[in-house]
């Protein structure tokens, strides 16, 4: 029986390493390997800190405390996580179908542009009309920007990695042009930023009148989801896993809610959670989600079953771009309340890491974006640390976790020469 590929690496004479594919992966290994990888990543991450003359132990302690150690820290972490989760969900959807949308950053900017176009055109509309309109406009802005590489790939076979990446620069520069040109705040003394959004164009902070409804809505959504998730599981083991995941999720959201009152977290958080729920149902329970999964796993089989690849590539790029657009909309309407030049610190790129580390699972995206949001927040505030430290840690974690995957999929055997 030929059960996959076996690889031999000759390390040095008389000594070699063999990688044998595992048919069955022990459950504990699936968790032990990422945990170990994370530890190794943290150890590697000490190097840049040492170079900077920061004590890594106090550095990590400060980071964790800053990101998760206080109600204020947690709420700021969630603030960073909101654009990551929205864009991450979009990227995860595209990657599910093996459409490599690297353009979430640009789609995020175009979403912010679309939302602001509406907000600046009709600033005096009541919030209950204006905000939904901005959400739609943000989604459409990102979706149209995503449709460009999608259409080019579907009908002309142009590589979407290149086009979506290149479009990022155009989108960023377009928004830069607006903030130093037609949309510049005349009172900004030359600073590259727009006028503040009107009161009705800002996403409400989850507090006051919004607080109780949000908590109730989250609990209801959580209860429905838990019922649905547990019923959907077929094996006891999977059921336990899903239930555990759900408990973690509820604790996180409820814990988050507890800390939200009187902080800055806005409705974009609810938007992100809702988007994850919608995406998860879309993928596993609908005809279209089934097509996406089949095409992602085996495009030829999909074609044989009469599925249209072209249509789905364009559609997936549009929805993916739309979600990234929502990230831009919520960042502007919820956090910044105006557009600054280069307002995103690479959320759209980090979204790729989020999607990948979450193994393209919508609920995983929520979890990972909270962790990476904590990293953004934590590295922001270490005294004496360079801005790039957070990015470096991100990269190291990403590399080590992806590398660790080999240990999950293969068994390593050491041969000493006979």
């Amino acid at each position: 029986m030929d059960s996959g590929r076996e690889r031999t690496i000759r390390a040095w004479p008389g000594f070699s390493v063999r990688l044998e594919p595992r048919l069955k992966v022990p459950r504990w290994l699936r968790y032990a390997v990422p945990a170990l990888s994370l530890m190794i990543a943290l150890i590697l991450g000490m190097i840049p800190m040492l170079v900077q003359g920061i004590n890594p132990l106090t550095g990590y302690r400060d980071m964790i405390l800053l990101a998760f150690g206080s109600p204020y820290g947690i709420s700021e972490t969630i603030m960073k996580a909101i654009p990551l989760m929205l864009a991450g969900l979009g990227v995860a959807l595209a990657f599910r179908m093996l459409v490599w949308n690297i353009g979430a950053e640009g789609q995020l900017y175009m979403g912010a542009f679309g939302a602001c176009l509406v907000a600046y055109t009709w600033p005096d509309l009541p919030a209950w009309i204006l905000l939904p309109a901005m959400i739609v406009a943000g989604f459409v802005g990102g979706a149209l920007w995503g449709a460009i590489p999608g259409t080019l790939k579907a009908f002309l076979g142009v590589n979407e990695i290149i086009t979506s990446l290149m479009l990022n620069y155009i989108a960023i520069q377009w928004v830069s042009y607006l903030v130093i040109g037609p949309w510049q705040d005349p009172t900004s003394l030359g600073f590259p930023r727009t006028t503040r959004l009107s009161e009705s164009a800002t996403l409400p902070v989850i507090t006051g009148a919004w607080y109780l409804p949000t908590v109730v809505a989250l609990v209801v959504v959580g209860a429905v989801l838990s019922y649905w998730i547990v019923r959907r599981a077929d094996h006891t083991g999977e059921r336990v896993k899903l239930a555990a995941g759900f408990v973690l999720l509820t604790t996180l959201s409820l814990g988050g809610i507890y800390f939200l009152d009187g902080r800055r977290v806005h409705l974009g958080f609810v938007l992100g959670l809702a988007a994850a729920a919608v995406l998860s149902v879309l993928l596993s329970r609908t005809r279209w989600g089934y097509e996406v999964r089949v095409i992602g796993e085996n495009a030829r089989a999909a074609q044989h079953a009469g599925m249209s690849l072209k249509r789905n590539i364009v559609l997936v790029m549009m929805i993916s771009g739309g979600m990234a657009g929502l990230a831009g909309m919520s960042e502007i309407a919820g956090n910044l309340h105006l557009i600054k030049r280069m307002f995103s610190p690479g959320y759209g790129y980090t979204a790729i890491i989020v999607a990948w580390l979450a193994k393209l699972n919508p609920w995983g995206v929520i979890l990972v974006s909270l962790l990476l949001g904590g990293l953004y927040r934590g590295s922001d505030a270490i005294p004496g640390a360079p801005k790039a430290l957070g990015m470096m840690l991100q990269a190291v974690i990403f590399f080590v976790l992806i590398g660790g995957e080999v240990l999950v999929r293969y068994r390593v055997r050491w041969d000493r020469g006979s």
Partner: protein, 510 residues
Amino acid sequence: MEDKSPFAISMEGISKRFPGVVANNDIDFGVRRGEIHALLGENGAGKTTLMKILTGLYQPDEGQIRVDGRAVTVRSPRDAIDLGIGMVHQHFMLVQSHSVAENIILGLDAPRFVLNLGQVERQIAKLADQYHLQVDPGARVWQLSVGEQQRVEILKALYRGARILVLDEPTAVLTPQEAEELFKTLRSMVSEGHTVVFISHKLSEVMSVADRITVLRRGEVVDTVAASETSKEELARMMVGREVLFRVAKRDSSPGEVVLEIDGLRALNDKGLEALRDVSLTVRHGEILGVAGVAGNGQRELAETVVGIRGVTKGRIRVDGSDVTNKPAREVMDRGVSYVPADRMGAGLVTNLSVAENLILKCYREPPICNGFFLNAEAISAHAEELVRTYDVMTPGIQTRARLLSGGNLQKLILAREISSRPALMVAVYPTRGLDVGATEAVRRLLLEQRDAGGGILLISEDLDELLSMSDRIAVLYEGRVMGVRDSEEASVEELGLMMAGTAPEDEGG
């Protein structure tokens, strides 16, 4: 006399375990110097694994290999070739855009810096001459036929100084005539003092060329016998552990109306070259039309144009009278055409999805599976449970990922899906390729039942025995043309073989 010659190779107590599978269990295998030794067994019996251990691609968990009586460790194919063992794989490992000579010297240390290709070509020509391996050393590999490419692989091994040649299912891709040529080569190699091991699951060729035969079953050696002292029936019994029916019991057909009408069909292959040239065929309800031919003569394109996933450049295809030429696959499907593709894992199944999800691949748009936008989980499960039971698919559960099923069960899964839609026409390409005897029988029975239920079947196969026993009529494709159509009662293997090689039958007027 051959009993006296010493062992060129002996493998003692070889065991190899893969996660969840014992591929080889305590195997003792000896090849005498100067013999042709066949390694016979069903798919999954462990033949290829054993030979991959011999050539250093796998390391045994236990056991000892001796070459010419000396204990050796073979860590890589490089070690193997140093010991004089060369292997010709089932899938050729050639660089398509390079010439024959360039392929042969690829990876060798010999010309350290300055490459004298002319000299190499002369050496190759000499070798080719010596062993009747006609091939032009200057030709590019992509220009060569499959049979010629195989000769290049053999030359590659010989050029590297292989004294022991291992061939993995060498005849799988050849016409009967090409196979005969290959056997001639093997005999001349043996007479020059080489030793040949070849892997096969075809009884007749094993009987005709091998000196001795070792039969493997489920990773263990059943026996090693001399070809002169055994029979096909005995070998078959050893292979499967029970008596085998060589012909499936088939009732007389009662063909009805024409279900598929192909008229003057032309189509291109993936390289943009014409693969079908003026093909006209008809299939009736309740009839199996077999299509014979060596792989690569337009079979794949024929199947794909009929099911609507390949464009037609000229000609017409009608299903039950309505024109489906260049209609999208979905529309053709809706007309009652189902498809069992050659490449099961690549085109027929989504192996990372569950059995249940694979079973709805063709009906996920229709109620009760789909109600507009949402899929109905209960209906999916019920559908899967029923098909798994009816078609006897062996699976731990309907939520099991398809990749964990055996080859035979994967094929049953596809057939279950494709037959359960009660198709008017079924296009089945190589439906039993790679299956063991038990699964082959089951698949053939399913196809015949479908025929008896009034379905038309276009059966494409490279196995003439299968075509002769299954089909009502047989068409032969050669270079995209129909060489002729025969009633299977009147057809002979020899005549079909000649037509497959491009020789027009004498009694064909036009």
